[in-house]
């Protein structure tokens, strides 16, 4: 009996979202486009760098240095100038991100065994990219400097720092980005679909009808919980296929753990969505409320910056962020093949969040009733 009632509610909820062809399209097409566009766009690697060279030296060494930089795939275009004021203009107007200045005694200094200097001027407005460019240039200079007469002498005392990258041997940025995006986009969609569900009914006045129906409060909550979770699982499956077959990211862990953790993650997301929805009177409030949660949740998830690098007082706040836990699960399962213990360790807090938010939402429904 209760099952028939619940089934009817679930079907009705699914229809509310999927009936309209526009809504159907918006649930399927844009998330895929997002995954594609953002996985390619969101790279902290720096490529196609434009650089300006001011070379006052006419010797062999400056020529060699420029040749090497030109040969590096990172750099796209070179312009040469003899005019100091052009350096200023090009950087200020962001025509180039860096300018390389070689003084007139550069080659002579090197031949004479005196310390030589090159100067790099970088655009500090783009502090990240310019730091990376500075790193590339320093590496090129460093290698050249080993070939200078005085560099040859010290060569044998150089220490080789041998890097080894576990889980992602080429440090491919997409291997990092795509799992992160899967978790974040799933949250984005799940939260908005749910946040709207009750607010919409309230705005249209159908929520009262639902409440006077024979459905019990917990049945309403379950009926509101399951459809967005089904949509969420569908999305995750789509992303997973795209990640594995399109982006060729290895999936080393167990699919069962991923779906197990994923279901609990979605329950936590939907719980938060329902809670927001129960608090809001209109759809507008629900959407904006969801936003108020989403933006900090993404920033405080460890996606962009490791949580341990955040200030001490801020770290405890991340404990109530479901994305934080699921990121560990999904990145771990994709690249590290983490075991059941680690998955469980992250899933328990997710389950707690789900239980707390869902009960809070149920309580709010009931209270609104009185």
């Amino acid at each position: 009996m209760w099952w028939t009632r619940l089934k009817a509610l679930i079907i009705k909820e699914l229809l509310a979202v999927l009936r309209d062809p526009k809504s159907r399209t918006i649930l399927i097409v844009p998330p895929i486009i997002q995954l594609l566009v953002f996985s390619y766009a969101a790279t902290l690697e720096v490529r196609n760098v434009d650089i300006l060279v001011l070379n006052r030296d006419s010797g062999h060494w400056s020529e060699e240095l420029i040749k090497r930089i030109e040969g590096s795939p990172t750099f796209r275009s070179f312009s040469h100038t003899q005019d100091q004021s052009r350096v200023q203009d090009s950087i200020s107007n962001q025509a180039v991100i860096a300018a390389l200045e070689i003084g007139s005694t550069f080659s002579r200094d090197i031949e004479a065994g005196r310390p030589a200097t090159v100067q790099i001027i970088l655009d500090g407005r783009k502090s990240n990219a310019s730091q990376i460019v500075a790193g590339y240039l320093s590496q090129i200079v460093g290698r050249l400097s080993l070939e200078t007469p005085s560099g040859m002498k010290t060569q044998n005392t150089m220490i080789n720092v041998v890097p080894r990258n576990w889980f992602n041997p080429n440090l491919d940025f997409q291997w990092f980005m795509v799992p992160n995006l899967i978790a974040s986009i799933a949250m984005l969609i799940g939260l908005i679909v749910t946040a709207l569900s009750i607010a919409r009914e309230r705005e249209l006045g159908t929520f009262d009808q639902l409440i006077v129906s024979p459905l019990r409060t917990h049945e309403i909550v379950i009926g509101k919980l399951i459809p967005p979770m089904m949509i969420g699982i569908f999305h995750m499956t789509m992303y997973l296929l795209a990640a594995i077959f399109l982006f060729q990211i290895p999936f080393r862990g167990s699919l069962i753990y991923l779906y197990g953790g994923g279901i609990i993650y979605l329950a936590a997301i939907v719980g938060i969505g329902l809670f927001i929805s129960a608090l809001s009177k209109t759809q507008q409030q629900a959407i904006l409320g969801a936003f108020l949660f989403i933006v900090p949740a993404i920033l405080l998830s460890g996606f962009a910056t490791p949580i341990e690098n955040m200030p001490q007082w801020l770290q405890p706040i991340t404990l109530i962020n479901p994305l934080r836990y699921f990121l560990v699960i999904i990145k771990g399962l994709f690249l590290k093949d983490i075991g059941p213990f680690e998955v469980l360790h992250q899933t328990i807090p997710l389950a707690l969040i789900a239980v707390v938010t869902l009960s809070a939402a149920a309580w709010l429904f009931r209270r609104r009733l009185e």
Partner: protein, 386 residues
């Protein structure tokens, strides 16, 4: 003379009608606490997070340090690692103790000073140090690698300076002098804060506007308005004017917080700030109008605003990721993202000062994109009445 009077009267009526419309919209806007939340509370949260929590500067990263053989030389190098302000070092003798910690993410890297290190160093046969990093977080991985290399390089330099007396050798034969203009200390906050202002204005201009107007379509009040003598241009202008003002107020709040609380330098002029922001709000509001007219449904409008405005402002604007590094097809998409033009100008305004050629170009492009949005929005609004 009569004709003049009539046309004057018409102007007065029209102006009154318009102000009545603006007043109605303003009340509607102020009545709903959620618009205040998005215009004033979210910016504060965002700026606080960027100001305090989320910076792209890595602080101390926890690593494991394995010394396979205890020698004075290895101890000396390990002291360098422990003294580095970039690392939080856990010391051990056996790599296997750290493997599981690296998998679980407790540490971000393992640095191994192998058993043969001291003897290789003495024999001058290129001693080796291994750095193992967790590649699943590529940023942190490359930070650990680079900083580890840095620690080793400066350790070598110090040792060779100490030994320099007898060898005559100095540090590297060619040194690189780096100068970062406009942001000497490379504080990432300084460029994140101007960027987040653009995000906030996108939220107010596009998301909020599209929601409000989509609701009117949903409820049919938009049609009711159209039945009145108000022209559709007046109607649209009356709708967005309060949001324009809200966007400007919200931006002003951001700038005040940025400058006075987070001491982000402000080297440009107030005039340029307001001109740029106003020019940016044109495409932002136009996009909001267009979305609402095209969807006429709050759920669809919110999703479209999210996908076409909010996320691109974050990811395709050069705010966090370099546009030049993106594949060409995606670089083309960025050309229609208004935030792409605002963010470099705001960063320049804060950190470098007024560079008018750059600002004027950005404003021209933003206004151009904005007018296209408005034309499209006006069209789909008119179509509806037929």
């Amino acid at each position: 003379m009569n004709a003049v009077n009539v046309s004057k009267l018409r102007d007065i009526v029209r102006a009154r009608r318009f102000f009545a419309l603006v007043r109605k919209e303003t009340f509607q806007l102020l009545r709903d606490p959620s618009s205040i939340l998005i215009a004033f509370v979210l910016p504060v949260i965002l700026l606080f997070l960027f100001g305090y929590g989320v910076s792209l500067d890595t602080g101390r990263t926890r690593i494991g340090l394995v010394i396979e053989e205890q020698t004075p030389l290895a101890d000396d190098l390990s002291a360098s690692f422990k003294g580095s302000r970039y690392f939080d070092v856990l010391e051990g003798r056996d790599r296997r103790n750290f493997d599981a910690k690296l998998v679980s993410g407790e540490i971000r890297g393992i640095i191994i000073i192998p058993a043969r290190f001291a003897s290789d160093f003495a024999a001058r046969v290129n001693p080796e140090i291994q750095v193992i990093v967790d590649g699943s977080d590529t940023n942190t991985a490359s930070f650990v690698q680079n900083y580890a290399q840095g620690v080793v390089a400066s350790w070598v330099a110090i040792r060779s300076v100490e030994a320099g007396a007898q060898e005559g050798g100095s540090t590297s034969p060619i040194s690189v002098e780096q100068r970062f203009w406009f942001n000497q200390e490379l504080t990432s906050r300084f460029f994140l804060v101007p960027g987040s202002i653009a995000i906030v204005m996108t939220l107010v201009g596009t998301l909020l506007t599209s929601l409000v107007i989509a609701r009117e379509w949903e409820r049919g009040t938009m049609e009711a308005m159209m039945a009145t003598p108000v022209t559709s241009a007046e109607l649209l202008m009356g709708k967005i004017l309060p949001y324009f003002v809200l966007g400007i107020l919200s931006m002003t709040l951001c700038v005040i917080i940025a400058v006075f609380l987070f001491s982000v330098p402000f080297r440009g002029s107030i005039l340029a700030l307001y001109l740029l922001s106003a020019a940016f709000l044109v495409p932002a509001l136009g996009q909001g109008l267009l979305i609402s007219a095209a969807t006429k449904n709050q759920f669809l409008a919110s999703q479209l605003a999210l996908i076409s405005a909010f996320l691109p402002a974050f990811l395709l604007s050069g705010f966090l990721f370099e546009i030049n590094s993106m594949p060409v097809a995606i670089q083309w998409i960025t050309f229609i993202v208004p935030a792409r033009y605002l963010i470099p100008s705001l960063q320049t305004l804060f950190l470098a000062g007024d560079i008018w050629p750059m600002f004027l170009k950005a404003m021209a492009v933003m206004l151009f994109i904005g007018s296209i949005f408005f034309i499209l929005a006006a069209r789909s609004t008119r179509k509806r009445i037929d």
